[in-house]
Amino acid sequence: MTNLQVSVSEHPADELDVKAEVEKLQSVGEDLLRMAKAKGASQVEVGVSKDIGLSVQVRNQQVDTLEYNRDNSFGLTVYFGHKKGIATTSDLTIEALSETVDAACNIARHTQEDPCSGLADAELMATQPVELELDCPMGVTAEIAKEYALACEAEGLNADARVEQSEGATFSSHRNIRFYANSHGFSAAVPSSRHSLSCVLIAQDEQGMQRDFWYSITRDAEQLETAKSIGEKAAKRAVSRLGGRKIATQKLPVVVTPEIARGLVGNFCAAIRGASLYRRSSFLLDQLNQPVFPEFVDMQEKPFLKKGLASSWFDNEGIATREQAIIKQGVLQTYLLNSYSARRLEMSPTGHAGGLHNLHIEPGNANNQNLSFDELVKQMHKGLIVTEVMGHGVNLVNGDYSRGASGFWVENGEIQHFVEEITIAGNLKQMFAGLQAIGTDLDYRSSTVTGSWLLSDMMIAGN
């Protein structure tokens, strides 16, 4: 809490002397590497995250919660040859750090020799820092945050008479410094910011209540969607869920909105992760250079996007990231490997320790057409638009997919009514292969950018 002054609500909560903090982290990092080496560690890596900020939630035009955040986490991994120990702490005092070094070394004395464990090879370390414009502080105070949230909620509450209550509108603003160093001499500190505005509303009719929400999240507050637009979208979405009913059990095509589509992309990425592959527990085993999606599908990783939500010039092991195709003309171009899984698979690491660094999925279909969301729905003609999935029914070992769902019933290419209390089921491998089109309604609120997907028949369970 050391940055807070007497009149707290007037003071920017994201004030951070980045240069001083980075210097401090670098010196702590060097101390730790030295301490661990002195204890006999052959290799060491250190990761630190410092996060400060605030969030203000309003509900029914009153402040509900004012929260000041200030989080530290510090993690140390030591290797004694091929034996590994990890220790983490939130306490950055020198005594606590010293205890953490001891704890990590103690663990490494007891874990067993694993020939695949160790830092990534030294020659893979990133050497060219790239300025990605990730740090855009806005000087937010509790007062400013409150104004944003109040305006957003007011727009939502006024948008439609059927919106009778709010679950709250929240503005939050945070700054972070991510620091990583290892005993190869790699060291980097990256400051970043993130700002978000969200609104959750409840619409009501004689049948009951329905809740829905909308949000925006960006590195640069200038790029946030307006309070008006967020409030209005939240209201429209909540109201559109009124008058819902179940539909009959049947097999039909499905359009999933970008939020759901990027969930499917998440399932895809989990299945091509090194750990899923060396454990032989993925439905996409041995698919490298094989078609996984139809030929019109391209997925490109873009680590160097300015102000990108997952932009980075190095991965969590210090390996240089690079712009690369993950899917090209439907064919899987690479697995997602860190150095450990690469050694297990006798392959090379791909710069994916910690995951992908922005994934862009191009709109299209087999006839080279760019279809809008409405055109996707027209093309589906009769089927289901899925706007929400629930539960954990994804089996990555065999690809079986069964989720609770809600959305809209479509006949003659037109939305008929809201649908709820149903499930959709299929197998991810077939769902990917049967992808018919990707819409132009790209959603930029995530590091995975995609439009809606038109999928082939799925089993819909209802009445």
């Binding site: 509900r59 590994k84 464990s117 029914g393 089996n395 499930t423």
Partner: protein, 478 residues
């Protein structure tokens, strides 16, 4: 003063050179603003985990975390700040930040801090110290061997052991001065099995507020057996059916249905705000008369149990539904105050850096009178589901889901072919009205539940006897 209180005071205040007078002064300083309630929550947490994979214990980690959360309440408003530094200047700044929710003007004084003696529901032994590293490794290796011996089709075993040791100290403007020392352990095993080109996974786990000595050889054998059984059943599984049908839920962990369908909707915050499908329904019939459901934090050594909750309120057993009628909500201090009632000891928080919310402890349905075999026998065509993965609920619309991890067809009153994992969906406020038989075989789960709400995870328990729901939507592919 209880020994736990002395120990936690020493732990938190000793290094800061502070004492109870300093804490009283800080709370008083918060009360100089127009605040209804002020609270300091100190926590230290130590956590370790050991993971075996491919026959070797290759990953292990230890973490230590310590800090204080400062909360101020005025009306429905909450001000909150926290600090990893437990030093007086940091505490004073956090207090200032959280009280900024209200204007100056009061001159309240905290009541004398006092604490009733609570009989602890669990040991105060540090589980991390309860076994040597060698012994911990031996447990993991034993799980690996047991699983591989049970079935030669097992191609990979991932076994893990984790231990947490939490100490908390709470003082608040309502006079609360309380502390708790909470151990929590868990052992898990996942097996991957291959046969005739097919691969499947099975898993099981066990845990509680105990130390590692609870992991007897018999329990480890049971754990390995359950994981291998689940994987082998899933290797033979046929496509699950799709559509509405009767579902018989097995005893124990399938109580996750109660947690999702009923439990969350009965948490005080949603009902104060009127955003739950159960809002304003106290006294109404929401379940068949066969159903009586409680949330009980007082069972010794259970994963979801608490001697006191995270606001210092003694844990209790709260009846939620009695013979089908909704009788109670679960409350924390804030929501109880705003709804003119008492906290039920359900105020829980993930850590000092998150706000307390009304949360469940161990939620279960009491036994009925039916024989489990009779329940199965009563179903012509349906599903028998003895094991589940997780679930989720939309408390406003009441729709909830949970996904089977082991399930079978019931045909003409007999359990027949295993079916693949499928998500079941229903409507919370009416699913229990369709309960037509309740077994006499109440079981609690094995102590592995994690509940997420507003981004905060807390350990919970669930349980139930065998139970028949006449109609649920089963999300299979067939």
């Amino acid at each position: 003063m209880s020994s736990a209180l002395a120990a936690t005071q020493n732990e938190f205040l000793g290094p800061a050179g502070a004492d109870l007078n300093d804490l009283t002064r800080i709370i008083d300083s918060m009360l100089s603003h127009k605040i209804d309630f002020a609270e300091l929550y100190f926590q230290s947490s130590r956590h370790e985990s050991w993971v075996l994979e491919s026959g070797i214990v290759k990953d292990a980690s230890f973490s230590a975390d310590k800090g204080v959360g400062v909360r101020a309440l005025v009306g429905e408003k909450t001000g909150f700040a926290y600090s990893e530094e437990i030093l007086l200047p940091a505490l004073e700044r956090a207090a200032e930040a959280s009280r900024s929710i209200a204007t100056r003007g009061n001159s309240g004084k905290v009541k004398l801090l006092s604490t009733p003696q609570q009989q602890p529901l669990y040991t105060d032994d540090d589980p991390i110290m309860s076994l040597s590293e060698k012994e911990k490794l031996a447990i993991l290796k034993k799980l690996d061997q047991l699983a591989r011996q049970l079935d030669p089709r097992v191609t990979e075993v991932i076994a893990s052991l984790s231990g947490v040791f939490d100490k908390i100290l709470i003082c608040a403007s309502d006079g609360t001065l309380a502390s708790d020392i909470r151990p929590l352990i868990r052992a898990n095993v996942t097996v991957i099995m291959q046969d005739k080109g097919k691969t499947e996974r099975g898993g099981s786990g066990i845990g509680g507020r105990e130390n590692y000595h609870m992991l007897s050889d018999e329990l480890l054998a049971e754990l390995a057996k359950e994981a291998v059984h689940q994987a082998s059943i899933n290797l033979e599984a046929i496509d699950a059916p799709a559509g509405n049908m009767p579902v018989v839920l097995g005893p124990g962990w399938p109580g996750v249905l109660l947690h999702e369908a009923i439990g969350h909707g009965l948490e005080g915050d949603f009902n104060r705000k009127g955003s739950s499908a159960f809002s304003g329904r106290i006294g109404q019939r929401v379940a068949s008369p066969l159903c009586t459901i409680v949330d009980d934090g007082t069972i010794a050594s259970r994963r979801g149990s608490l001697t006191i909750d995270d606001e210092g309120t003694q844990s209790q057993s709260t009846t939620l539904i009695e013979n089908g009628v909704l009788v109670g909500y679960m409350q924390d201090k804030k929501n109880a105050r705003l709804m003119n009632t008492q906290s039920t000891g359900n105020g829980r928080r993930e850590s000092y850096s998150s706000l307390p919310l009304p949360r469940m402890t161990n939620t279960y349905m009491l036994s009925g009178e039916s024989e489990p075999e009779d329940i199965i026998r009563s179903v012509k065509k349906g599903i028998y589901a003895p094991n589940f993965g997780g679930g989720q609920v939309d408390i406003t619309s009441g729709k909830f889901v949970f996904t089977t991890s082991e399930a079978y067809l019931i045909e003409d009153g007999k359990v027949t072919a295993p079916v693949k994992g499928a998500t079941l969906i229903g409507n919370g406020p009416d699913v229990l009205t369709k309960v037509s038989m309740v077994g006499n075989d109440l079981e609690l789960d094995k102590g592995v539940g994690i509940c997420g709400k507003e981004g905060q995870s807390v350990p919970v328990g669930v349980g139930q006897p065998t139970m028949k729901v006449d109609e649920l939507t089963v999300g299979g592919t067939n």
